[in-house]
């Protein structure tokens, strides 16, 4: 089963800056890799850490979160609250053993289509280099129906 590993990236993006920035990347026809799936939320303030956990549970090899630059939040301060939450959550995950090569954060404004492409491609490359998130998938195996367990990961 030497199939080339392609990471799955879940991206949570805010509606006003990053989603629009990603739209701009599209209208500018900036090519990027196809591994990321975007989930649109109104504001980074809406992103609960359980989203990230749930994404890993559902097989994400990496998670990317992006919103408006500090001071540009459409809702005044949502991203400031989010940033504080991330600092805590990131440290927690790190302590538990999910290091920062699985979880990425960025500020991408509506005008930064190019930056968005660079970030997405960068994250995909980094996670591809890191390989599949075996450790988390192992936890999932216990409850998954055996059919899904076709990748070369050994079931304990």
């Amino acid at each position: 089963m030497e199939e080339k590993f392609e990471p799955k990236i879940a991206a949570f993006v805010c509606n006003w800056c990053t989603y629009t920035g990603a739209d701009l990347a599209g209208t500018s026809r900036l090519k990027q890799e196809a591994n990321a799936r975007l989930i649109r939320v109104p504001c980074t303030g809406r992103i609960d850490p359980v989203f990230i956990i749930k994404a890993f549970e559902n097989g994400a090899d990496g998670v990317l979160i992006s919103g408006c630059h500090p001071g540009d939040c459409h809702y005044n301060a949502g991203n400031f609250h989010a940033r504080r939450r991330w600092i805590l959550f990131k440290n927690l995950l790190d302590f538990i053993g999910i290091d920062s090569s699985r979880l990425y954060f960025s500020w991408v404004s509506a005008s930064e289509g190019k930056k968005w492409v660079d970030i997405v491609d960068g994250v995909i490359d980094a996670v591809r280099a890191k390989g599949p998130f075996k450790q988390y998938k192992k936890m999932n195996k216990e409850i998954e129906i055996p059919v899904a367990a076709e990748e070369g990961v050994s079931v304990k």
Partner: protein, 668 residues
């Protein structure tokens, strides 16, 4: 739930890299999908008709369209579905163009991704709820805070459009700084001559309620529905009885005690006074801090001479509440003119220029008063210390502006122009006098502005010296001004008779407090913050609150007037409809599980979370829970993410909707 799926080719735009028929086929197999088709242009009339037809024929409950970005055509498809009988919030868009076909090249990868995106949308739409737009009634009345030229303009525009305006002014008279000016640049027309008619118009306008000597105390409510509490400071004069005859002020024995605010301290006024003869309203107020009666309980001269018995020493501050739909903030600016560093002040002051120490070092507004025909010298160019004609005058620009160390980094914008005007006015009055201007750069962008400055230099022979002044001190009645001409590279020492400092325009000291009252933002200087620096320059982050004039940043008269009109126009847009329609994307509390920790209240940037008491039938308090004021909530969902028990959820982006999307990720 019956879901219909529609995949748009967008001509070749999507179809070139995404195999649309295959996507459509794949979607047909998703649980819940009862109809799936693809079409060249979904947004076209025939395309929309396909959707409508399918809704009717297959009795669809929800629709997913795979097309361009929701920012493009979400509204189009929502409208189409609504017309076919589906609630418009039962429509989801999968972005197959900007986020897929346009950014990928491999048709297999793109098609796979498109199917995933469609699956996300289908799973999500299963948890969508029919929603109705929120309709809020609009109170078609406006509050204007500040009666300077900007506030006057805004009030008149709104009133002339037929809507009521409450104009609040903290001073005894409206008019603001413009009423203090002698002439205006670049036309040199008399400031009061153009302003006074406007002030009278405000006073006489049947739609304008003028509350002078009043301040906004408290604001609650939201766009279209503000309730404003205004403090009416005690004037000690019954406004309805006073005829403005002025006898009280004339007879007041306190003539020299108080410095005239209007003349910037260059003259004195009595304890009972109108700020200036053309004041509107022409009703005096008693300055209780200097009035003999209020200090000793004796005197009552004004009361004795008033034929109308309008003097009332017992008057107290009163409060009125006004219901308004919009608020225009036009609180203006003040000047930075501090000599030594005052204690507990954020300002460092300018000890080296001796303002406040030397009588003949004055600021720009003081010069305006000296130059003004209605001023303390009746327009004669006389210096304050000994009332002689200054033969040498020095103007210094950028005092406090463009000064990170002792003032503010920003440029005060109007000083270059008014300094040129001052120098010109001086030369016109003192023909044999010499005028020097120390400047760093001349910023004269504006219609006929540069021409005006050139005229001062070329026709009136004002000496412009490029360089900052280091120090001013007084010897033998002369002010020794030590500067440097950086162009010639030579030191310059001028023995001047009068020095005018073009001090920085700064935000009103109370601005941050007012900003908190109104829940709007302000920058580090205390200027109010606009919603967007380019596209929403007069709006604030709080709906229904608009900005006008120099409370936003340094502005000259035409800009302040334009901004006043712009803010008025924004209010009138609001008044154009009876009801305000708002997206129903707002938070909602589940009172049964809310534990009342109020973290949601802490993170809410809009003060939209209120406390609500839940009582049983007997009226006993059961618990206190959070409650969302739907008028204030803007729908960011930060509360939702913060709530540990998920007892507050953002309608439209509820947990189950996002959960469904994330779960769909398993099949990516």
């Amino acid at each position: 739930m019956k879901i219909g799926v529609f995949v748009c080719h967008c001509g070749e735009n999507i179809g070139r890299t995404v195999n649309c028929p295959e996507v459509s086929k794949a979607c047909a197999s998703f649980p819940g999908v009862v109809h799936s088709e693809d079409y060249k242009y979904m947004c076209s009339d025939p395309g929309q008709n396909l959707i409508k037809q399918a809704i009717r024929e297959k009795h669809l409950d929800a629709v997913v369209v795979g097309s361009c970005s929701p920012h493009m055509h979400e509204k189009t498809f929502r409208k189409a579905c609504a017309s076919a009988g589906i609630n418009s919030y039962m429509v989801e868009i999968a972005n197959l163009r900007e986020h897929c076909s346009w950014i990928h090249e491999d048709i297999n990868q793109a098609t796979k991704k498109a199917i995933d995106l469609m699956r996300f949308a289908v799973e999500r739409v299963k948890f969508n709820q029919p929603l109705e737009t929120i309709k809020v009634p609009v109170t078609k009345r406006s509050l204007v805070i500040g009666g300077g030229i900007s506030g006057i303009q805004a009030a008149l525009d709104i009133a002339n459009a037929g809507f009521e305006v409450v104009l609040v002014e903290k001073e005894p008279s409206i008019g603001g700084h413009m009423s203090q000016l002698s002439e205006t640049f670049p036309t040199l027309d008399c400031s009061q001559c153009i302003l006074t008619p406007r002030m009278v118009e405000v006073y006489q306008h049947p739609k304008i309620k003028l509350l002078s000597y009043s301040e906004v105390e408290h604001v609650e409510g939201f766009i279209g529905n503000f309730k404003v509490t205004i403090r009416r400071k005690a004037k000690s004069v019954k406004e309805e009885l006073c005829t403005g005859c002025g006898l009280c002020a004339e007879k007041c024995p306190i003539k020299k005690k108080a410095l005239s605010e209007f003349d910037e301290g260059l003259s004195n006024r009595p304890a009972i006074y109108v700020p200036f003869p053309q004041a509107v309203p022409n009703v005096p107020v008693i300055d209780r801090s200097v009035c003999t009666y209020f200090k000793t309980g004796k005197c009552e001269m004004c009361k004795k001479v008033c034929g109308r018995e309008a003097i009332d020493f017992t008057q107290q501050d009163t409060f009125v509440t006004e219901d308004v739909g919009s608020i225009i903030v036009a609180t203006g600016y003040k000047l930075y003119s501090i000599d030594k560093k005052p204690e507990d002040s954020i300002y460092k002051g300018y000890g080296e220029y001796g303002y406040g120490k030397f009588k003949n070092v004055i600021n720009g507004l003081q010069f305006e008063r000296i130059a003004s025909a209605s001023g303390p010298t009746s327009g004669e160019m006389l210096r304050p210390s000994d009332k002689t004609v200054p033969k040498k005058i020095v103007f210094i620009q950028c005092v406090g502006s463009r000064d990170e160390s002792k003032g503010f980094s920003y440029c005060s914008k109007i000083c270059c122009m008014y300094t040129a005007k001052h120098a010109m006015l001086y030369k016109h009055k003192v023909h044999d006098g010499e005028a020097y201007v120390f400047y760093m750069d001349i910023r004269s962008g504006g219609k006929n502005y540069e021409e005006f400055v050139r005229r001062a230099i070329e026709e009136d022979h004002v000496n412009y010296i490029r360089g900052r002044v280091s120090r001013i001190y007084e010897e033998d009645g002369k002010l020794i001004v030590k500067g440097e001409d950086t162009i010639a590279g030579l030191p310059v020492v001028i023995e001047a008779d009068l020095v005018v400092l073009a001090t920085a325009m700064i935000a009103q000291q109370e601005a941050p407090k007012l900003a908190q009252t109104l829940n709007i933002s302000y920058d580090k200087y205390g200027y109010f913050q606009e919603a967007h620096p380019k596209l929403r320059p007069v709006e604030t982050n709080t709906g229904g609150v608009f900005l006008a004039g120099a409370c936003h940043s340094p502005r000259d008269i035409p800009e302040s007037v334009a901004m006043g009109s712009a803010a008025a126009a924004k209010s009138l847009v609001l008044f154009g409809a009876d009801m305000l329609e708002r997206e129903p994307i707002i938070a909602k509390v589940d009172a049964t599980t809310c534990a009342g920790c109020f973290y949601c209240q802490k993170v809410c940037a809009y003060n939209a979370i209120e406390k609500k008491e839940i009582r049983d039938r007997l009226g006993n308090l059961q618990k206190v829970v959070a409650f969302v004021n739907s008028g204030l909530c803007q729908g960011c969902g930060t509360c939702n993410a913060t709530c540990p028990s998920k007892s507050i959820e953002l309608i439209g982006f509820k947990d189950d909707q996002i959960f469904a999307q994330i779960n769909a990720f398993a099949e990516v």
